[in-house]
Each structure stands twice: as C-alpha cells, then as structure tokens.
Symmetry: C2
Subunit: 159 residues, 2 copies
Amino acid sequence: MRLTTMTDYSLRLLMYVAQRPEQLCTIAEVAAAYGISEAHLMKITHQLGLAGFIETVRGKGGGMRLARAPGEINLGAVVRSVEPDFNLVECLATGNTCTLTGQCRLTAIVSGALRQFLDHLDGHTLADVLPAHGDGPAQARTMKLQPLRRRPAVSESGK
Amino acid sequence: MRLTTMTDYSLRLLMYVAQRPEQLCTIAEVAAAYGISEAHLMKITHQLGLAGFIETVRGKGGGMRLARAPGEINLGAVVRSVEPDFNLVECLATGNTCTLTGQCRLTAIVSGALRQFLDHLDGHTLADVLPAHGDGPAQARTMKLQPLRRRPAVSESGK
C-alpha cells in the first residue's frame, strides 16, 4: 500500500519551504536538497499553489513560500488534495467492473479503514512534522525554525 | 493511495471460495467468475495457501477450499500477508534515501495513520464481507448462503 511519489514529494516540499519563512524558495534548490526531480516538483508546486498551500512570486528573485502558517496546513488536507485517488480496491473506483458490486460488503469496510487513516492525518499539521532542530536537508543546521507571520503554536492537537 | 491488485484479488478469491464450502474451487472458475487473470490467481492461491487461509487438493477433481471458517479469517491478517509492502512514503521503506531521515516526524505520523487503517481491518473477518444474499459472481441469485460444512443448494460451475 503506497501513496504516490507526488504526495511524498509534496510533503517534503512543504517541509522545506516551511523551514525558510523569510525567503522565497526555488524548485531548483528543493530538488537539489532532496535529490529529486525538478519536473516532478514543478507539477507539485503548481498543484500546491492551486490548493492554496503555497504562493509563488514570478520573475528574477522569485520563488515560493507558504500561503499559511505551518500550523494551519492540515496533513489530511494536503494528502487529499495531492493524491490522485484513494481506490484501495477496485470497487472504490469509477469504472469498477467487479462482478460482486452491490452484493459484498468489502467496499464499506475498506472505506471505513481509509477514513481512519485520513482522520489520523487530519489530526496533524505541517508544524507537527517539521524537524525538531536544524535547517533541514543539505543546509547548515544553525538556522532556527521561523514561524510564518506568527509564533509557532508548537505541537498541535492529536499527537 | 492503493492496495495492489494482488490484495484486491486475494480478497475476492477468498469470498468466492467461502461461499462454496462443500466444493473444491478451481483457479479457472474464479478467473472466469470475476473476469480476471488466471496467472495472477495462481500466484495468489500459492500465497494464501502458505499463509494458511486456503488449502489445496491436487490432481483431477482437485481445487481449493478455505482452511478455516470465514469468521476465523481476519481481513487485517489477509491484507498484511498479501500486500507486498506498506511504504506509504519513502521514509517507511528500506533503502530510504530521504535527506530528512532522522530529523522529521512525518514517519511517525504516517505510521500512526497506517496503524489506524489496519486496526480497522483487524476488526473484521471474511464472514463480514460475504454477500448478504446470492451465490456470488455471475451466478443465479437464488442460492442462499450456506455456512461452512453444510450442503450447498445447487452445484456450481464458476460462471
């Protein structure tokens, strides 16, 4: 059982940007920091922008920053917005051709399990996953975490 | 987010076999009933046999049956035994190269969500997903479900 690389990279990109609230981050530097593809990150940046998690500034010296404080970016919301689907079994998908459809109760049970999974993520925000110390990947570890526009609420709910 | 086809087909195979407690089911008839690949089902049958969910009888007239009553086959146990991995994000996998490893708290939160998912499945058995009525896929819908070790109402032939 896996989330897509898109979702994995989205979470990492948000973590990277969250730790640099005073600067505009570029796709190139995120790609270099994690050793991942710029092409993937371009697509992800676009999607996270549309979903209202980041905002981008165009032109020379441009880049991206969080559109909200880390404590206001819910992990369940990020995963729901980036993951292409949650079709854990065929009967959860459109175009389902399983001959058991309508007769079996697997759909309801798997949907219940998925709800539990997402509920758990809904109890956490980006602030909860940020490294406790340091400045993140491939960077000097001296920089302190900076909140975006307000003090961090420290760890939130439901841990 | 998806489970593999292997897991989806394993659950369907178990449901098919569970509804025919008085007969040995063949891979060919399960494949025909669901319109899915025999090659996939061969691999699955082998794995479900090793895991102790089904038993097979070789030779002419042979086939498979459940090795335990449906109420004793836990869905969480089936999914854990068939799904190749639960590496929802890279940091859950062996060979993980994420540069954040050891610094971030995503691993713990995603692991917690996965635990909730599996806990929900652990609360259900194969008996819970069997169709309430009918004889399963592509069959006359007149046959009542029969408990394990009792006579079926009609003979089956997969399709």
